[in-house]
Symmetry: C2
């Protein structure tokens, strides 16, 4: 790889099904370790040991590694680096994850929510680099979010800020996972978009199955000229536009950065999204807002956790 | 008055119909000047001169006054102290209000949006004093809001943050002033509550007039045992609860402070509001949130602008 002025650090992208680990130099993932299958480990200690073993191997090749960070799929007590519970990973209850990582690797360690790591990656090295007040979101199974306020991660009073997927788009709408009426992710999660697509096609007299209607497949159909598929993205733009306009009225950010698989649908999503947001905002808010796709895809979690850990160690 | 350890400063609460001016020592308004009738002044210069004349008189009695601040009913370019336009006050277009106040009084001056001044008053001396991350809102003709993040006013990239009244509670709802579907203030503004009450009573076979159905009158009826009036507050709690739950998911604040005339309805509003929010939030978010009425009423604008100006002059 090319010369890179950045120090090296390790990022651990801890997901519900797999753990991906990489050595980063700024925005570059210099080397990846072999991923870990989360389901193979019944308790947190064994899984942490597997992570630590990967980190050790990476350090043999890259002795300059200065810190290790991990993005976690759930609520983290950031100040203490403590994981209360991960609903999708068995055996993770009251784990002092950061301190275990630090003591077992001997490196400065940092642990944060995964969406915050994604937001940090975009702010430090990605689409959000020029901006100071940023809302970053990932559209996938659910909707995650992270906020940068005045060039600093904003985590909230209990480190639980940024839960964009739980915000309501309809006070009398569909119930979300907390009974929260109109929760945005029960409209725009991958599965819900597929369910919505089945209904849209059925209304037009076409019986389609879930297997044919992933967001990616809907995008391909729309690009091939399918009017119904295009309309489905129009519906998502309507929902997401309302949500992001509300966030803009509240926070007046410089930039909203849209990531996750769905962001790959490009203009199919961004065109109706922009139209909806423009129709809902004042000129001052809309003209100064940068609504942009994320730079990083699957590597955002590794890059963001590695960058946060390094910056914290250096500060 | 009792001894007060605070320095003195002047606050100017610049409203659409009147300008109220007072000398403050912390949370105490030590003396009020005679209010100014905004409509009597066709241009900004004459109105500013009238304000400056009041400030001069107050300084004769209180020579210790150290700064002057004003809360303005519209968007302010905070860094420059510049008012682009006030839709409700004729003759206010592109006015360098802060610099005119400073040069004409010889005092350090500060100009901010009125909702930010209210939020500052509550954070510095009011219900928000113990907290670090605060959302303050006023329920009146419209809904205004201000945010304190990490013990600092957060104004947004164009100083336009906190517009809670424009946030949507229904992506396909009633159009707001910007065409923004579901804008919360077109449900919960004073006038809209009256309109909603007329419908609620009509549905029950009772023809009532707007003059009988101000929020205050609805509260009185509810307190006297009127079931329909009570239900109207239940509806407002439903709308407001959905809005404030969304804000809580996004910002995870310590405190949400509810001010304005409607906050005086007390438990009639707060009970259904709390029920709705609790039903929409995680345990962590709800248990740690302080949902509280504002300390200051009509004096919030004077106290907050005076406090902001003094703190800025002293920093």
């Amino acid at each position: 790889m090319s010369e890179n002025p950045h120090d090296l650090s390790v990022g651990i992208d801890f997901g519900g099904t797999s753990v991906k680990i990489g050595v980063c130099a700024g925005a570059d993932v210099v080397e990846n370790a072999e991923p870990i299958d989360t389901a193979k480990y019944g308790d947190s200690n064994a899984l942490i040991d597997a992570m630590v073993e990967r980190v050790s191997s990476l350090r043999e090749k890259h002795p300059g590694i200065k810190a290790v960070g991990s993005g976690v799929p759930g609520l983290v007590d950031f100040d203490r680096g403590f994981v209360h519970e991960l609903t999708n990973v068995p055996g993770w209850k009251n784990v002092p994850f950061r301190d275990l990582l630090a003591s077992k690797t001997g490196l400065p360690a940092l642990v944060d929510n995964d969406a915050n790591c994604m937001a940090y990656a975009e702010w430090a090295y990605g689409a959000g680099e020029p901006y100071h007040n940023i809302v970053a979101l990932t559209l996938g199974t659910g909707i995650g979010g992270g906020l940068v306020i005045d060039d600093k991660m904003y985590r909230g009073s209990q480190f639980a800020a940024g839960e964009i997927g739980q915000m309501s788009i309809d006070y009398k709408g569909r119930p979300g996972p907390y009974g929260n009426t109109g929760a945005s992710e029960v409209y725009m999660g991958n599965k819900q978009i597929t369910e919505h697509a089945i209904i849209r096609y059925a209304d037009a007299g076409m019986a389609k199955k879930a297997e044919e209607l992933s967001p990616k497949q809907i995008s391909e159909a729309a690009q091939a000229g399918d009017e119904i598929a295009r309309q489905i993205w129009g519906d998502v733009g309507e929902w997401l536009g309302s949500l992001l306009a509300s966030i803009t009225w509240l926070l007046n950010p410089d930039a909203i950065i849209v990531g996750g698989g769905m962001a790959k649908s490009g203009e199919l999503l961004f065109h109706p999204l922009e139209e909806k947001m423009k129709s809902m905002l004042s000129v001052v808010l809309w003209d100064n807002l940068h609504l942009i796709p994320a730079r990083f895809g699957n590597e955002a979690g590794i890059i963001g956790s590695a960058a946060q850990a390094l910056d914290a160690a250096n500060s």
